[in-house]
Symmetry: D2
Subunit: 359 residues, 4 copies
């Protein structure tokens, strides 16, 4: 069992400290999942839920009759039981809600992306540091066991140099009214790549199209270049014949296919190319190696549960969460570079302040 998981399972022993009083704001598509996981964790206590739509509140009420409900964000800010606020509203509202919560002395968890711009995100980070409060962006995939396993394969050197990564995250739906597919799905892949590679790209080149709603891109092809030489392609779309969550990582020693829809989400291929003696280099007598394929056993655990526990633990113990504010900003840098590339007709675009993110 994942160590992040153990102490917090419902009814379990807990981490030795009191559950964190939490308000969940925004009960649309994703909010109920946050409520459910917090409800089942011994690390948290869902004190309050907040949404402007009474219908959404009632639906939660039927399932969790003991949880208090409100349509007013002011109630959230004023509630003494609420130590931390979980924000799961449309992207455009992230900044205003998180800012008010931090100013009210609350810890804040914001669903990805952290904010609607790098400038907004940086202001939130500054504010959280100033007030000594935890600010955590909800990059859930960092808590996915397959993603973590692949990070271990990379950082341990088992894959060798990462030559390139190619990823497809497509399915039919859900068009967002307030954001392009780049803002909606891009943060998933950008955060995973940052976590795996320990860096963000230096250049981004993007091509997109608003197929269904003009000016709202619903498909994008994004090429990324990293300082290390690694290149990557990210395909994201709300239009697709079938759901794909497939990432290929090609290393100099081994290769990996990560398919989040498969019961074998990680497959490690002992395959590659061997260059002969450099003296005979000119002859290009490469030999290809194809060995065993291994599907390692992967824990089955809900990443969101681990992520929310990490948030609570960070509040109680002061340790940094895996999904750091710095990573949240790096994701915003990548999204903004992709958007600038699109605005400039697909020009190759430098990422602002690209630098190594993680150790």
């Amino acid at each position: 069992m994942n160590p992040l998981n153990e102490p917090f399972a419902a009814g379990g022993a807990g981490g030795g400290w009191d559950p964190v009083g939490i308000a969940v704001v925004g009960l649309g598509y994703w909010g109920p999942n946050l409520v459910r996981n917090l409800y089942e964790s011994s690390a948290a206590n869902v004190a309050l839920v907040c949404d402007m739509r009474t219908e959404s509140l009632e639906r939660i009420g039927r399932r969790y009759p003991r949880v208090r409900r409100t349509t007013s964000f002011a109630d959230v800010l004023a509630d003494p039981e609420v130590e931390a606020v979980v924000v799961a509203t449309p992207i455009g509202t992230h900044f205003a809600l998180a800012k008010q919560a931090l100013e009210a002395g609350k810890h804040v968890f914001v669903e990805k992306p952290l904010a609607a711009s790098l400038a907004e995100g940086a202001e939130l980070v500054r504010l959280a540091e100033e007030r000594g409060r935890v600010l955590m962006p909800g990059h859930t995939f960092l808590y996915s066991p397959p993603v973590e396993m692949i990070r271990d394969l990379i950082t341990s050197g088992e894959l060798g140099d990462v030559y390139f990564v190619s990823t497809s995250r497509v399915n039919l739906g859900l068009h967002q009214s307030d954001a392009s597919v780049v803002w909606d799905l891009g943060p998933h892949d950008f955060s995973i790549l940052a976590y795996w590679l320990g860096q963000i790209p230096t250049y981004v080149t993007a091509l997109s199209r608003g197929c269904v709603i003009p000016d709202t891109p619903d498909v994008a092809f994004i090429n990324l270049e990293y300082g290390s030489g690694t290149i990557a392609h990210v395909e994201i779309a709300w239009l697709a014949p079938s759901k794909l969550r497939r990432t290929t990582i090609v290393g100099s020693r081994k290769m990996v296919v990560y398919d989040d829809t498969s019961i074998e989400p990680v497959r490690v291929f002992d395959a590659g190319v061997t260059l002969p003696d450099p003296e005979t280099f000119g002859e290009y007598r490469l030999s290809y190696r194809t060995g065993d394929i291994v599907s390692p056993r992967v824990d089955v655990v809900e990443p969101l549960f681990l992520e929310l526990n990490d948030f609570c633990q960070s509040i109680r113990t002061g340790t940094a969460p895996r999904s750091t504010p710095a990573l949240g900003l790096d994701v915003l840098r990548t999204v903004e570079a992709a958007e600038r590339s699109l605005a400039n007709g697909g020009a190759r675009t430098e990422v602002e302040g690209a630098s190594v993110t993680l150790p």
Copy 2:
């Protein structure tokens, strides 16, 4: 059975005209497949095979003892039985060999790509017209039943507008010593896209890396923009954990997955998004439609057999082959634009003389 196939099966009735006397030049990886298909067709007579490597000639000799063999291309040019020359040598030699053959009055089939540059290709086309000889580039996939079926789905309007195409053509091997993956695998996808869409891209943006041999790209991510609004992504690589030949075509009415490694190579998805009444447009209340999925029956026939018969038929009857010289030039235009994009650090690059190719 495909109509191109019928009259030429080995021992079949034939097209009512004499078999075309053919020489196959180049017996490396692909040449033996050309010999085998020509040998089994009643439309052709393999008069001569030519390769500088006696070992390759001997291997063919063991299998086809009656076929004459030579190490000298001059023998090919001088042979009165040889009406047509099939060129399957490294790309850099296509121009010189095809030029000599045309000048010697032979019809010429050149494995893809037609030549190593647009200028070379254009010179060959000019020469063929001048001499009244058939010149045909070997874009085999145009003769693949799944590719043809998808062209029918597109041109009949069954898919609606083609929003975008995404394609992956990757596997482990075979690094070429004289060409990048863009010259080696790119022509397959560029010719298929030209055949399907009836146009070539106006802009190309490419990213590549020479992972194994520096300066010899073995992976490339290529974004394509078409005048019609269609966008496409082409991923090609000689490095991959497993073979992929997967193309997704997303149309406004239906979607298709073409997987050339599957026994169900074409799958048609009756899926899409419905926009509501334009007046309520601002509300984005899209509805998603997912209906039946159909794998239509596809003929099992070797595309190369059909292609070579089309070449012979073109020689005997004067009809244009499906794989026209004009399409061959359009493929070269696309490859060159991709190469220019790479040479310019991944800049978005205009395709020279982009224009509609096919009716």
Copy 3:
């Protein structure tokens, strides 16, 4: 949406009658699923849950704090709010619990199989008729949209004569302490086959082995013969490298693969064999036909929800449920024949009272 589903969704309009007051008895592996579906249906009201294990009761209590709980079955029988009892306890207790509930005037839903023997089952049926109460065996798969779709394909004649059926229902776990795999998994396939074919087998031949626990079969191969000429093979196991839920139905006109683990659970193959003119029969010049393959769109709905609503509807309206007591007895006849075959060293064994079940 399935018509059985529509009026009962949580918060929906309901069927125009009061929700049925229900007690769920047995909160082991399956019981909580029954509670959850009843809780979300407007057709039912979970008045009481009952289990001897206080731990199980507490777990339900955390999730549904308003539901009353008891460790005493006598409380269930005495409770005036309880109109119907849902029994989800080990097989050996089905008879005693259902009998008491019927005698107390309750309607009864019993998880499959209806009882631990045909004699017990028949006694329950007699008692329910005598008391005028609904008795319904929980053959959930009869409410699975793919199963229903295949029944339509069969009864409409689209498949032609059903030549044979072959089915595998295997995975790793869950060994039952009180029953063999034949009693545990067999009823699923036997009920599906009865529903599809409208008959039960006339002969059963079985082979099994208790691999892990001697004398507790955890794998069985069961051959079935039907009066219509159809033959079937049922493979069931608690030991398997991966989960399989795959059934092949071969008809004289079309064939179907039903895979309950796939997102395309029903695939219809327009394939078969054509016999030539009977006069030339001796020559066996068969022609094979392989046409399109269609994956029809299948509703995504939880069968258990539909099944429990059918139970409530039967109580309120007096209509027979799809899963009739007669079908429940036929399943017991088949299980008992398989067990007799095993007890007789794998002898071919007649099914008691085999007769057409369904119209």
Copy 4:
């Protein structure tokens, strides 16, 4: 590379002895494959081919113009260049042809099954011993690298005790005019099981149906019981929506899926059940173990090539071939038991002379 393969590749060094002069008799569906593999092996010399149909001879002649052809079996027997005869005719003729060939002093390879009855097979074995000639049944799957790899997994103990085996070998076609599916496909699975388990079954129970041609079974479900406790199910059919070649082997320590249609033909699952301390046995607290899944690299080589080389090697060196006459007889024993079971209405039937076959 498989050691059986190495010395015999076309043009290779050979085993240090002269190629065996061979006649191939029967050029129907399978015969041309035999000719092609013998033609490419340095261990053999195809001296003569024989078929009553001149059309079949001509087709071979076009491909192998140097090979002599005859319509008369007497020519085969009389030809001094022919040291060995390969029989690939309908089953009913195996005995007569093999007998004459042995009596004429030839070595004989007979496509599976060895003969049309155990009595015939035994007579051939007796005759071969008497004359000191090699007699080899063509059980090709014994030379398939996946089959060999699984045998190693079993005999090395890596799988533990083999609890059970379940196998499906079905596809659409090819109905045989002179044999049931039991005689046609059964020998494949019966020979593989004999090779893996080192024994033949003691009891067989079969159910079949002639769906298309009455009295010619084209589907059969066959249950097998072995003295070791292992049980097996064999499903074979000429009628199926899609080709299946899937075998599951469940051992006490590991499990294997062998899929001959997959590019990963062998998959080893580190999965199983752990029984607790025997003292607490009554509680059945089993724990399930699911670990890594490994697809070991498997040689890609044509089994038929290895098999024919083994035949030649046996002739030249006197070593027993892997596919022994004894195994051929054991397969006939199993087929005959299945046929007797069918003739007796599906009764459980003892296998004649069941005994351990292989070390």
